[in-house]
Amino acid sequence: MIEFIHNIQNSLIYKNFFLVLSGLDNTLLLLLISLPIGFILALLFALGRVSKITFLSRTIASYIFVIRGTPLLVQIYLIYFGLGSVKFIRESFLWYALKEPFWCGVIALTINTVAYGAEIFRGGIQSIEKSQVESGLSLGFGKFLLLRKIILPIAIRKVLPSYGNELILMVKATSLVSLTTYMEMTGIARKIMAKTFAPVEAFIAAGILYLFLNFLMVQFVKYLEWKYNPHLRLNN
């Protein structure tokens, strides 16, 4: 038995696991900044998309079209390599953020999740029954109160499952930031592979951590659904 534990402790996956774990905070940092900002901006963009101001609605529609039609990798490279090659950006205050691969990753992930999130929230807002809005209006609600008390709560509740999917896609998307030399879990796994020439062990260790992260995310979304959709609970 002791020998068995000793074998596990000496195995490459076990050692790699803790090395990759040291990149977990960098992965989480990317998510903790880009997800909340992405959520708020996505809501605002969705409201702009369904608004009656044609110019605003069209601009946001084309933004969503471009972001959803191109791979995230292109967006990350455009911000990291593309903007960095422009002279007046290198000389402006923007360079303080754009010279760091971390901030480039945060910006690219936020831009990406806003486009997908806005489209999800638009579906939620447009699926609200007209009678709900009318009853709000008949109670004398103003526009802002209507939004805060009726439209947003119902819309967000309805789209929780699909927004949960988007959150999981974002956890997976953080691995792409490793291609801009940012050392999060995938980046560390690649470094281990280059050092030890044992690719399978390195990437399986990273894969287990990502699976665990996504498992937590699924539980979090399930909890939110349970909390905010009490009428859908099977047993009280």
Partner: protein, 235 residues
């Protein structure tokens, strides 16, 4: 900032290289979508037959691949694939070094990812076929193969086409990740060109436009396919 004059065709520019790279992206997407659909059919089959072991394996496969970043799956298959093939070859008594070419590895890697998404779409489409259809087919005395070919697949295709269209878009965008394996598709060509010309912005914008064209055009194609397959069902 921009050097769009470098995009002419011929020796002076990168136009023809980008055309070939775009075709390569399309080729990988189509091949891996096809292989992915084939894998997806097997996965769905493993899930719907009443067998615990096959269902567990299929569920394990879809859960793990969908919970792990695409980039990790590609790295794993790219760096680990050769070793697996070589150990299989060793069983058959072949001891020399085997190297899979980049196109094969890229196709397999993207197919493994896209199959997990396709299988969910196909399973939902299969479950939406009413039981009466299968019973009627059995009552007519059709054998299993005919039931699959003449009753199940036409209906599955009609129900699944919108979802398959989404999976195609995801697959097309995922091919950008296989640039890490060295296969010269749009993203790899972009890196090569921008390193030579010292103008990443030009070529990255070109790449974005090329991907936009590909997704838009294929979106149209799927729309017309949907119209074709839902003849007599739309109002």
């Amino acid at each position: 900032m921009f050097k769009f004059d470098k995009l002419v065709f011929g020796d002076a520019g990168w136009g023809d290289e980008f055309l070939i790279a775009t075709l390569m992206t399309l080729l990988v997407s189509i091949l891996s979508m096809g292989l992915g659909l084939f894998l997806a059919i097997i996965t769905v089959w493993a899930k719907i037959i009443q067998n615990r072991i096959t269902r567990f394996i299929a569920n394990f496969y879809t859960t793990v691949i969908r919970g792990v970043p695409e980039l990790l799956v590609i790295y794993l298959i790219f760096f680990g694939g050769n070793a697996v093939v070589m150990s299989i070859a060793k069983v058959f008594g072949y001891n020399k070094y085997i190297e899979l070419n980049a196109l094969t590895i890229a196709t397999i890697a993207i197919a493994v990812i896209s199959a997990t998404y396709s299988s969910e779409v196909l399973r939902a489409a299969y479950l939406s076929i009413s039981k009466g259809q299968l019973e009627a087919a059995k009552a007519l005395g059709l054998n299993k193969f005919s039931i699959f070919l003449k009753v199940i697949s036409p209906q599955v295709i009609r129900h699944a086409l919108p979802g398959i269209g989404n999976v195609w878009q995801i697959t097309l965008k995922d091919t950008s990740l296989i640039s890490v394996t060295g296969l010269v598709e749009i993203m790899r060509q972009t890196r090569i060109s921008s390193n030579v010309e010292h103008s990443p912005l030009t070529f990255l914008v070109t790449a974005a436009i090329l991907y936009l064209c590909l997704t838009t055009i294929s979106g149209r194609v799927f729309k017309s396919l949907e119209n074709n397959y839902s003849k007599g069902f739309t109002v």
